[in-house]
Structure formats: C-alpha cells, structure tokens
Amino acid sequence: MRTPPFPLKERTISWNSLRLAYRQGVLIPLFSSVVAGSLIVTPVVIVIVRSFTTARLGSSVGFSFDNYLRVLHDPKILPMLQNSVVYAGGSALFGTLVGAILAWIVARTNTPGKALVELMPLYPILMPPVMKNIAWVLLLSPKSGILNNMLQQAFGIDHPVFNAFSMPAMIWVFGLTCVTLGYLFLLPVFLSFDPSLEESAYIAGSKPMRTLLRITFPLAIPAFLSALVLNFLRGLRSFETPVLQGSPGGIDVFVSKVYDSMSVDYNPGLATAYSAVLIALSITALLLYVRTTRFSERYATITGKGYRVKVVDIGRWKYAAFLAVFVYFLIGIAIPFVVLIVTSLIPYYDYDTFMQFPSNIDLGSYHRVMRHPSFVSGLYNSLALSLIIALVTVFSGIVMAFTIYRTKVYGSKVFEFIGTIPLAFPPLVLSLGLIIAVIGSPLYNTLWALGAGLFIAYFPYALRNASGAIVNIHRELDEAAWVHGAKWRHVFFKVTLPLLKPSIAGALFYIFIEAIRNIDVAVLLVAPGMEYGPVTLFEYFRVGQWAEAAAGGVIYLLILIATVSIAKFVFKIKFSL
C-alpha cells in the first residue's frame, strides 16, 4: 500500500484548489462578500489610523500617541469605565430577560387573545430611543417630572422619589430598548422548536414546569446569550441615553465623552482615542459572543423532518401571562406615548400645564414642526433611506452568511470576523471615519455617505440573524437541491432564501425600525439640506423645545405604527414567524 498523499491538517492554496472552488460554484457569493466586507473595513481602518494623529480635520496629519496619553491621564477614566459596564450590563440583563419571557409566552403558551398578544410586544419597538428618553425624562425628572409631582401631591413626599438623571433610570430606559432584541432573537427559537425534544422529557417522567426549566430554556440558552451579549454591546455604544440622561446627571460614559470631544472640541483624534478604550471593552464582549454562536451550532433544532410547533397549556397562569404582556405594552409604549401626545398638544411643558390637559389643547407645536424645512426633509430622507438600507443590508447579510456556512471556501470564516467588526465600534466613530473618507469627494454631504454609515452599523445584525437561521437549517436540505440539479443560485433562491423567510421578515422589520430612528450614525453625517428626522428631534430636545420634540415624535410614531400595521394586515407579513 502506498502512503497517503496528504498528511493530516495540511492544506494548500493552488490553481487547482481555485479551480475546484470555481467548480463548486462559490465565487459569486465570495465576491459579493468581499465587496460588502471592504465597505465595512474602510472606515474602521481610518478610525484606527486617525487615533494616532494629532491633526484636526482637513489639515495635515502626523503620527503620535498624544491622544492616548491625554485619555490615560484623565482622572475620571476609572469611574467612566465602571459607569459604562454597569449601565450596559444592567440594561442588557434586564431587557433580554424580559424579551425572552415575552417570546416564550407568545410562541409556546395558550395565552388568551393570541392575536393581540403576538402584536403587543412588537409595538414598543416602534418607539424611537430618543422619544423614550424624552418621555421618561418628562415622567421621572426630579423637579418637573410628572410622577414625582404626583407622588408629592398624593402623599406629601417632599423630596423627589425618582431621578431621570441617575444610573437606575438610565438602565430602566435603555433596558426597555433591549427587550426588542431579546424578543426577536428568541421567538424563532421557540417557534422552530422540535416538540419531540420536550415530549421525550415528558416520557422520561418530567413534569411540564421541570421540562420547561430543564429542556426548553436550556435549548434557548445560545440564542439568549447571543441576545444578551449583543445588548451589552449596544449599551456600550448607545448614544441617546448617556447624552440626554447621563451627562445632565454627571454620569459620564465613553460614548458621551466621544460626542463631547467631537461637538465641543471638534477633535476627531481625541474622540477616536476615547473610543479606543471603548473598543477594547467591546472586543472582549465580542469574543464572548463568537463563542456563544459556536456553541449554538450544536443546538440545531430544524431538520429535514417535518415539525409542528406545540402550544403548552399553562393552566390558570395563562391570565398572568396575558397580564405580563399587557403591562409591558403599557410601559413600553402606551404610557410614554400618552405623555408625548399630551405634551405635544399643550402650549409648553411644565407640570401644571400638563395637568390642565385637555382644557388647554393647542396645535401650535405641530404647526411649527410641519413648517420647519429641516424636519420635513429629514422625515422624507429617513423613510426612503431606511427602506433601502433594510433591504440591502439584510440581503448582503444572507449572502455573506451563506458564504461562511455553506460554501466551505478556504478562508470564508474571515467574513465572520469582518461582519462583526462594526459591533466593536461606536456608530458615532464609524460615521466620523466615513466623514474623513468622503471629505473632498463628491459623496461628501450626500445621502450616500449616510446610507453607507447605516449599512455598516446594521450589517452585523443582518449577518448574525442570517447566520443563526442558516445554521438552524439542516445542511442536507441544501445538498438535496444540489444533487438534484440545482446550481448555487438555485439553492440560494429556491431553498435557502424561502426557508429563511421567517428570519428575513424579522430582520427587515428590525433594521428598518432601527434605521428610521437612528441618531448616533446620522448625528455627524447630517448637514444643512441633508437632514435626518430623528436628529432634528434630538436637537429640539437639546435646546429645550420639548413640546416640538414631542410633536415630531408623535408624527414619527404614527407613521411607524401605520407602516407596521399595513405590513401585518395588508401584506400579511408575519413578523413573529
């Protein structure tokens, strides 16, 4: 017998292997992934290079560590570090847990009013973060806050109970934003759950509650961890809450410091150096995240065998479950929405004026907002751009996930890394990188730059979503198409894509909703004449035009609710499935 031609674990790249790759039909998805990948890498490289320069925007650059030295000598660096971790970790845990519970209730229990229950956790998604901040500041502000004043009048408490500008309030408000991701990540897991896994536990003598704790929830752990770590990252990068609630209360985190060095000092070098610390923190969390997804590959629950989702009878608890969903609906959107509507309909905000409603209805705020050119053009831009970006991002994400997990191309795992890079960078800093990249080019001051920024910022979500779903589709389903005469594009369009439809709908919805209310990418990329709606609202709030901010926010909310309802009832898009 002759010796084997290849020793273990050795691979070579040669013309032969390229020819083999071509014959496997992987070059087109590979090429698309390279294009998307380089778009992502460009601003990242610029940011890193920029952090080692002293120059200001537009002037010459020179290599130096000055920015880093300045950051390291800041005595507030340690409290900032602590604030960032407590704020991001607290919100992520609170939000993901609530989202997971809601997903389980919706997917697997026999709650009454199923149609309503399916919808209720989705509506709070519509609330732009900045509107949540405005509403909760109105409710919890120490002096003029509605709740504090109510408690004072009802019980005679002379000091404010709540403080909108404190860490718990920050965690509360951002945690509510984190619920969305937890819900959207876990819902498909619970919906695609192979019932025989639970049934075999029942057979083994496990009661429903025990089965839930020992089988159902543990199988959802990979998705839960993914959502948790992603929420933590979002917390580290989040912009509105630290700037609108943290800074006034003297609670500094890295993002607000980055924003200050840009908006006050206009010093991009310093801003990128601050974010370097933040990036180190994020990368740690990211590595953790990569581990959790690798972990989830062992948890593939969708096979080629047909499966049916089973609803669990939870007895009388079903009313409690309904109540839980309803309470989340109230806190997540109904109460803030009412506060915003009332505020938008009164001449100006203070507690007494607020309480006189409805005797003092006044449409002045709406008139002013709708006559304000920067709001009107911003509204239009945000609608058009978000729709395009959602489609482009989700489709690219699927192509890249397909390349990584299905084509087995040599080195395709690199895309997993590239596609995750933006998560380590605050959108604010990415948009800074983009500004530097396009300055002096025809793209400067156009929606293209803003679109690219949004694409980069949301790409990781699209990729993660598609990867998770593709990993869950049994490989044999692709291979069956392959041997029965399907080329890669047929496999992709006729098998992979239709099977991904549930996740695609969810991701499209999610990215559209996120992009249309984006502030942190857009805040540096907008220019006079190139407005973005949410940034305009942000500016209203910062200059104290609370009633105008509320009016603009209500208009946004109504548009979003209408869009989603049309999609749900007219186009029958099932976001939850």
Partner: protein, 375 residues
C-alpha cells in the same frame, strides 16, 4: 462499462481519516456499502455524489470522470445527474410534495406537461398517489421516505445513491420497505449504491457488498461469498451470528486441515483448507452458530462433534437460542428445533454439537502464527 469507478480516495477531517485509499469498480445492479458507524461509508457516498471533495483520488460515473483531484477536475453535484436519498429525507418543508419532486425537473427546463407526468408517475411508482398537494410535515416518516425516493427517481438518473434511507423507519416498515426498494430499483433498471450499517439489510437488498472499516475496504464480494467466506476477521464478526475462536493447525492434508481450539478444551475441528495454510500455523475459525446442530444425544459422526453444557434456552418463536458452555467459551446456538432440557434449570444439561465443515470459515492469521509456534 462500469457505472461507478473509484480510485485512490483519501479524505481527512481534522484528525480523523474517513477514507484511506478507497478504490473499487462496480458494473451494474445494487451495491451495498456496509460497515459500523464512523467507518467512512457515508463520506465515500458523498464523495461519489460530489457533496464532499476528497483530499485525493478520482471518481468516474458511467465512464465519465467526475472527480480527479490531481487534474483539478470536479464536476459539481448538480451536473452529475444522479439521485440521492438522504438519511433524514431532506424534504424541503416549504414546498408541497409535488414541488419537492418537480424541483430538479423544473431546473432542467422540462416542459410543464412533462414535469407533471413524470412527477405523478414517480409518486405512483413509490406508492403515493394523490398526496402531491400535501406538505412534508403532513406526512408520516414512511411517506416522507417515499417522497424522497420519488424526488430522485423522477430525474431518471442512471445511478441512485442512498444514505441509510431506512434507518429512521420502524422495524416492520423497514423490512417491508427494503424488499419494495429492491423491487423498485430493479423495475426502473438503474444502479444503486446503498449505505447501511445493517448487514441483513445489505444482504437482502444488494447484488454486491463492500464491507468497510476505518476508511478501508475489507471485502468486496457477493452477499453469499461474504457470508460464507469472510476474508477478514472483522468481516466475520460483523456479519451475522458467528463465533470467532483462535486455533492452531495440527494437520494439513489435501484440501482439509484439522485445527485444535484451546478454548474448546483443545477439541479438534476439521475444516476446508484456505490457500497455503500449513501444519503448525495459527489461524482463526469463524463458526456460524446458526448452522451448528445441537442434540442431547451423541451424533453418529465422530468427527467435528463438540461436547458442552447447555445453561439456558430462550424461545424466540420459530427459533430458539441455546446457550452452551464449551470449555471456557459460551456460545449461542440458534436452531429451529428445541433441544430438550431435562435437568434442573441453571445446573445445565450435557449436550452434543455437530459443526459441519461448511459452517466454519478459516482465516489465516500471520500475526497469530508467530505466537502459536510456542505451543
């Protein structure tokens, strides 16, 4: 011309060698690849289909080269024009039965009317008429299996590959299906390669059997030859109910040898002589216990009769398993006839066993012969 030819296939996953120099040629009919799990049989099938790219080697289907790593040739699976039935069926859950079966035909731009005719014919062939509008999740396991088969047959391939297609069905259905599957493949007149770990299934279904272990082919022959003349001790122990004992040739004359078996109190058994086995050589005997005759009284023959003690009996309906202790070895003899048991159960009965020459296969073992010289 052979339907499948494979040469020098190697495939390594991380630190596990799935294929270690596989080569064979197969003309026509049904070929089973038999082996324990992890022996590389599925990897071999996937390399033939083009789903897996081997590290080295070449594959021809119907005389046309499909894979040749050295020359950089790799025909993608969609151009190999073969059928493939997956272990988990791999029916697309978002398509109806009709669309599952029609999938490949539509891709080949077959006219709609022809697609319809061929899909319905294929479903009819596998015994599933009138179910074309159902979704896979609305079918039973057996029905899903048939749809998967119809999907491949509708393409009218010259070769169909089946990867443990019956392993997810219950026993009774499995037995029915394997007979039906064989009839079906013969009726359509195509060749098939059938991967299984169940030797009975392999024997029932196939014209030829390849026995694999650890990425290597141990034997490639007809079921009959493999059963009666296993070429390797692994094959012998993997096939059917048999007992493997060490022995030493004490006498060799003509085409017969006499072998002494230490485990059976050094009893001597006469066996057919394999090529080149001389007296003094060590060997292994494979005794097919189904062919051993058992009696409570002495046999007329004096040669090849063993004495033992029957310790228990298990009636299996039609067949009975008798546990017999011979020397230091307990063997299970299965026979249609119930051997009477007289004394108290547990203490055992003295019994006689007649082992015909034809019930013994001899495996020459050079490794054993070196040690055997000491005796």
């Amino acid at each position: 011309m052979s339907i499948v030819k494979v040469e020098g296939l190697y495939k390594t996953f991380a630190d596990y060698r799935a294929l270690d120099g596989i080569g064979f040629e197969f003309d026509h009919g049904i070929l089973s690849i038999l082996g324990p799990s992890g022996c590389g049989k599925t990897t071999l099938l996937r390399c033939i289909a083009g789903l897996e790219v081997p590290d080295d080697g070449a594959v021809w289907i119907d005389g046309k080269v499909q894979t040749d790593i050295k020359k950089g040739i790799l025909v993608p699976p969609y151009s190999r024009e073969i059928g493939f039935v997956f272990q988990n069926y791999a029916l697309w859950p978002h398509m109806t039965v009709y669309n599952n079966v029609a999938f490949g035909l539509k891709l080949r731009k077959v006219r709609d009317a022809d697609v319809r005719r061929r899909v319905l014919a294929a479903l009819d062939l596998v015994g599933l008429p009138k179910l074309e509008d159902r979704y896979p999740s609305q079918l039973s396991g057996g029905q899903q299996q048939r749809v998967a088969l119809a999907r491949s047959l509708a393409m009218e391939p010259r070769l169909i590959l089946l990867d443990e297609p019956l392993s997810n069905l219950d026993a009774k259905l499995r037995e029915e299906m394997r007979v039906e599957l064989k009839k079906l493949i013969k009726k359509v007149g195509i060749s098939a390669i059938y991967v299984t770990h169940d030797q009975e299934e392999a024997f029932v279904i196939s014209d030829y059997v390849i026995v694999m272990e650890r990425g290597k082919i141990l034997q490639y022959a007809t079921p009959d030859e493999i059963y009666n003349w296993p070429a390797h001790q692994f094959v012998a122990s993997f096939i059917g109910r048999s007992v493997l004992v060490e022995g030493q040739v004490v006498q060799a004359a003509g085409d017969e040898i006499k072998v002494s078996v230490p485990e059976f109190n050094r009893a001597v058994l006469a066996c057919r002589r394999p090529n080149g086995l001389a007296a003094g050589a060590a060997c292994q005997l494979v005794i097919r216990t189904g062919e051993v005759k058992l009696s409570s009284r002495p046999f007329e023959q004096s040669e090849n009769v063993l004495q033992g003690v029957m310790t228990s009996r298990d009636y299996r309906g039609g067949l009975t398993d008798h546990r017999v202790q011979i020397g230091s070895r307990e063997i299970v003899v299965t026979s249609h006839k119930l051997c009477p048991m007289i004394s108290v159960e547990g203490e055992g009965d003295k019994v006689f066993l007649y082992v015909d020459k034809d019930a013994i296969s001899v495996i020459a073992n050079s490794a054993v012969s070196a040690q055997g010289a000491d005796h």
